[in-house]
Symmetry: C2
Subunit: 129 residues, 2 copies
């Protein structure tokens, strides 16, 4: 039952107005640039609070956590190691097979994260140039 304060509303609005995957630093910089007064600690706490309420989603990449809108259907991610571009995809069969694999091992699933690495269409071309 965390509060939806002005700061948290600003974070939520920022994320909801985009299709990006934001890290904490990008969020605080965007808000400060937009004239808001907010500290990095508040952003970290706000992001955690919003996520715990299901208002935003997150993915944990190697170095840092990134947040995105929660009003999209579940999906997984492809990260381009060339330019950082993040592509989204969803695959019902993969999801179902994961559930089956967990079942077979006696696991009660609570979540999963599938990240694929590679080169996006654009970076792929630049490779063999």
């Amino acid at each position: 039952m965390p509060k939806l304060t002005a700061q948290r509303q600003a974070i939520l609005d920022l994320i909801n107005a985009s299709n990006r995957h934001w890290d904490a630093d990008e969020v605080v910089r965007a808000l400060v640039d937009a004239g808001a007064s907010i500290g990095i600690a508040t952003v970290y706490r706000g992001l955690a609070a919003l996520e715990s309420q299901g208002l935003i989603d997150s993915i944990q990449l190697a170095d840092k956590k990134r947040y995105e809108r929660a009003d999209k259907a579940h999906h997984d991610h492809m990260v381009c190691t060339g330019c950082g571009h993040i592509e989204e995809f969803s695959h019902d069969t993969i999801e179902a097979l994961q559930e089956a694999a967990a079942e077979k091992k006696g696991f009660k699933l609570t979540g999963h994260q599938l990240v694929m690495f590679g080169f996006c269409r654009k970076c792929r071309q630049e490779l063999h140039t």
Copy 2:
């Protein structure tokens, strides 16, 4: 072309003799406890070198990187959020469908990581007790 020094051989032997997923700290503690003289920086560099030569594998979990033997077939992981136990599984169909999903988005895949979270058989029982 990194060298396989005594320290790196010790790291490799330790990992190859087990089925665990080791973090750097566990490795240095195990080696020091076994009488070896090795520093944490050397372990970090050794692990990176061994991985770059394909002699060990790694998975990047939320907080830290964990290393394991490379002489097993490719597999993915289920992590028990109750006790930390890591279960391995492999699923050819999931692998194939990933490749197909990447293709559809124009991605040239170089790798992937699928981690499932949940409760292992043991922790599951303790839950409804």
